[in-house]
Symmetry: C2
Subunit: 211 residues, 2 copies
DNA sequence: TCTAATTTTGACCAGTTGGTTAATCACAAT
DNA sequence: ATTGTGATTAACCAACTGGTCAAAATTAGA
């Protein structure tokens, strides 16, 4: 039998999945190697056999997760559509994605804030500068019609992205303030509703913008 | 000399401030009692003299911070102004507040997500249900004119609040994607700009809303 | 089947962490 | 000065945590 390029991918995978869960739930400093081992159904020593240290395991997980998140966002904005259509597509697809990965936003934002070192390992996957220019060039006419200058792009992009991300990051706070939102199905229904609400909101804002 | 009601408030205060700093920076599980003691310039044992345990110290800090945050938000929305004016006032004052407390949003959101127990200790300070109704009743006419039904209020309120909070929660991610934002002054200028941008954005969206 | 490499485990270790304790210090009241 | 009280400290401890290691189990190849 051919020697596999990576060590037994079955066990490695179980570890990786367990680690992803635990890190997302508890964050780096709250996560325990023992718990990851338990959830993977293996010995703690085996964890260090596949991933030398907690840091290395964490970085492996973090890199995959942040790539997942950004690939999704970038792919949508790179598509060949009008800006208006892109906004709709973005809200639709990104909210679908986040419903399946509800803990992702807060996990990524928090780890980056608490330990900015993690950023060095992923700077490459996040070259947005290029994208921002591409977006503006591509839609210059449409956006100018809305009174959006190139210098307004950061404000606009952050606003759009926050529409989908923020409710997930603020999940618990929302649950406290609107008790029926504690129920996952209710919250997901709220996010389903939000696809249309946010698209209408953004497009109306753009159409009617002063200046 | 009169016996003070609370133990020496000077030391207690130094501890509380140091704890606030450390918890905000590292989160509960990343914070170390030793570091808090060091920053307060005292012995670690003295920490436990004033606050029995890490949990107790944390809850004290957490409660004060979450109250600070919500009092600010609630106070503004309770004011006697038109909805339009409230939005402007909110963005103005809340962004000013967050510029002075930039780590607050992510800290609160994350701790609530990682350890939902903390919520029990502060449910009282967060009775929003009442407020939502008050807001809608008070501005029913104005909001109906914008095509906002009572059932849309959560979508709208979350959108408004995210305008100020999200950029602070996503501070590091923004810094990665827009390198000049690494500079604090640039970021704060961006948030200053955002006051007007967000107000225009929201009000235009409302005015021009379909349905 | 035998052997060598790989995978998995239990036991163990050193450093860290929250927390305790008994002693000391500062100081106000007698 | 003495005494009593609260504030502060150094030293210490038990539990936890990431990580190691040598031995055992499994697997693949000759």
């Amino acid at each position: 039998m051919v020697k596999p390029i990576v060590k037994d991918s079955h066990t490695r995978d179980k570890i990786f999945k367990a680690a992803t869960q635990v890190f997302e739930e508890k964050g780096y400093s709250g996560a325990r190697m023992q718990e990851i081992a338990d959830r993977a159904g293996i010995n703690k020593a085996l964890l260090h056999y596949y991933f030398r240290s907690k840091d290395q395991l964490f970085m492996a997980v973090f890199q995959v997760l942040i790539s997942k998140m950004f690939e999704k966002i970038f792919a949508i904005f790179r598509a060949d559509l009008s800006f208006k259509e892109k906004i709709k597509l973005f809200l639709d697809q990104h909210i679908d994605f986040l419903v399946k990965n509800p803990k992702l936003p807060l996990f990524l934002l928090n780890e980056m804030a608490v330990n900015p070192t993690v950023i060095d390992g992923v700077r490459e996957s996040l070259k947005y500068g290029e994208l921002r220019d591409v977006i503006y060039e591509k839609h210059a006419k449409e956006l100018k019609g809305y009174g959006i200058r190139k210098s307004d792009m950061p404000q606009l992009m952050i606003t759009i992205v926050s529409m989908s991300i923020f409710p997930f990051a603020a999940r618990e706070m929302i649950a406290v303030m609107i008790p029926q939102m504690i129920d996952n199905r209710k919250f997901n229904a709220f996010m389903e509703e939000r696809k249309e609400f946010a698209a209408d909101f953004i497009l109306s804002a753009l159409k009617h913008r002063k200046k």
